[in-house]
Point group: D2
Chain length 236, copies 4
């Protein structure tokens, strides 16, 4: 994708994009912090796609083609769908004839796309690193799982079980339970209640089929080799 077509894409994903061409954030911090939203009203809000926080060519064992398609089609598609859905929801809510179950059909789609948008942003933002977890983070994780390896072992096992299906593995901090734990998640829409994602791995087949076919275990290796642990550390 050329620089200009990427710019067009970013603009298209927001109904009223406020992102100027020369303002596209190019660093991790920018991608995480510089969210430009058109509104804070739940009915008007339009989401602006966050750019990839790393060069699509730079990952080890994950091809530029795969990453670009993942970001542009799957994440970008979710942003566009979420923005479109909000308009449909307002229309449906203002029509007194809308039965509640028809309205909820749209709300469910909104929940799914919201999950897809949010989890993809966490996912891309925790890629682009060298895969080496800093010592203090290893200690923090070990404190919650007995050992760092016990954590990694469960995280990978959940991932393997999702290969061939679709879902996410999330290391998250459950604010209510005051607990750091690994979660199995499916369909973009399941999520542990009241939980802050810390490390997010996409196990939808679009995350690896192009490069690895059905070999999910090889993709999981590649994912671990590219973890941006500094980003993860800021979320714990």
């Amino acid at each position: 994708m050329s620089h200009s077509s990427r710019r067009e894409f970013l603009q298209a994903t927001a109904v009223a994009s406020l992102v100027a061409a020369n303002a596209i954030p190019a660093t991790l911090e920018a991608a995480e912090d510089k969210k430009v939203n058109s509104s804070t009203n739940a009915f008007d809000y339009q989401h602006t796609a966050a750019p990839l926080p790393f060069d699509a060519k730079s990952l080890k064992g994950l091809s530029e083609k795969l990453i670009q398609s993942h970001w542009e089609n799957n994440y970008g598609g979710a942003v566009k769908a979420l923005n479109t859905l909000r308009g449909r929801l307002v229309q449906a809510l203002n029509d007194a004839n809308t039965p509640p179950y028809v309205y909820n059909g749209l709300k469910r789609e909104q929940l799914i796309r919201t999950g897809s948008v949010v989890l993809h942003e966490f996912y891309f933002a925790n890629l682009g690193g060298d895969g080496k977890a800093p010592a203090d983070l290893r200690t923090r994780i070990a404190a919650s799982f007995g050992t760092f390896d016990a954590w990694e072992s469960e995280f990978r096992k959940i991932g393997l079980g999702l290969g061939g299906g679709s879902g996410w593995v999330v290391l998250g901090y459950n604010t209510r339970l005051k607990l750091l734990e690994n979660y199995w998640m499916a369909d973009h829409s399941t999520h542990a209640a009241d939980t802050r994602p810390v490390l997010v791995m996409d196990m939808y087949e679009h995350a690896f089929q192009m490069d690895y076919g059905a070999a999910a275990a090889k993709y999981i290796d590649a994912f671990f080799a590219n973890i941006q642990w500094d980003a993860v550390a800021k979320r714990v």
Copy 2:
């Protein structure tokens, strides 16, 4: 449920309960803050049931029998199941013969019970009030939905669409999108990613069938009449 049987129940829901009989919290703050957990290790953690933050007899239009059964059987059952599941998970993870999809079958059950435990605690803690939203909270909600009534109208519509099925309506703050919005949720396990629950309404049939049969709209009225808005205000 007598005071002593309630005490036994609270103890039974934790594998190694640290709650002394005379330490059962009786106020909202206690229920919200004084969580006693046996461990912060994801594999060992055992959850202690939070007591009802109000007198089960005190709600308007929701019977003591319903509330007591809801708290004891549905919430209490989820706590017990969650605690049991953790033991099963450790067993399965330590057995090298466990296929990943069998492990994930347990992880999915864990996700469902985690959602049930967490959402029920938010639910009971936002009941027991007089249903009158303070002015500043009304203003805050209006800022996010155009008007307070627009918010309430969508919240109720989602609830109506869930009547006869099972699920939750959640007003939540989406930390990633920096957005306060209403969510349709089902099966304890769907949830908006990275979202803090603010107001939680249980639409499972166990929340109202005993008192209202299939008349979900009447239950929603009763729910609104009993909202503890002070608790809600602290979560925004």
Copy 3:
């Protein structure tokens, strides 16, 4: 519900009801066979609610109030929703601006209501009997599960696991696998592919909360005591 209000209800559930007041079927065979549909076109079809194949007052341990509400509100509500959804689907399909994911939001609701309508009809039609399985059916079931008791034990266990949530237990004949087996099902929409329901037990809370509160096991006993095995025998 008086006879005349019941008649009105039956008529209301079909957009263009062909059921004359004096033609309401009153027996099991009538309920199973005399389906009156307004069209065989997938886009026009409107479903007519099947009457209860037994007297709502006649079941042992399941109250008239519960059965009547279940049939009228939950089953009847699903029929109405399904009929309404079909109109919405045609509208959406004819509108070139409908995004596929918005269309699928409606298709999912249609799938859920279709499951609810179909499974409720099987459920009511396998109630109203004396609970005594005829010898040849016991033999047939024993041939597929080792013993009749092994079948019943698994069927009940699945039911217990659904108490407090929502779902169905179905003994079904899987045409593809040429196998009679028990299935866990949830949300009206999960179902074993290519499978004919043989015995259907509703475990949604609306099937028992009014009479039994959270005591799902007691409801399962009552269900077994009222099975109409002759209807079941015809489906194997």
Copy 4:
């Protein structure tokens, strides 16, 4: 995959395979009819993978690599998982300490794999043709959807809405409603109750990502160009 490794795979997918190497069925009829099962007991049954009913190299626009991986890894993986799960279920049922919700976690996995096995078999069996629907089948479909094009238009729209997620589009005959209609299905486990699959299209990403990336519409074109309508005609 060589002939001998394919033979090994087929054998491995059944615990006690009865398929002799020289008895591997090579035609559509063989694949549909010559199912060799080790038992008709629900607790003992072990499924034997059905061979591809066409040459993996022979499809237009769907590569041998994709088809082979789809059949071997996704379908084959589901067969193996289903067979393994049955053993786990028997073990869990015989252990009086198994909580019902733990048992149901396994039953849910069984339901998912059963759907995957059954739907994949229908899918592969309705591929390998020239994509030209015979006149009488076109007439039959037109009778149920107004026109053949109206049917195809809805079928494709549902497919497009699933691209990027995971699920199935199924033209099915609903025996209860006496209706031929299109269904949206997800996660292998949702299915219209009491419905016989007639035409089945896999929209999981493993069905197309390797060849088409995120371009689901192109895959749908390829699917239609390869439909084996004679197989479909036999199912109506």
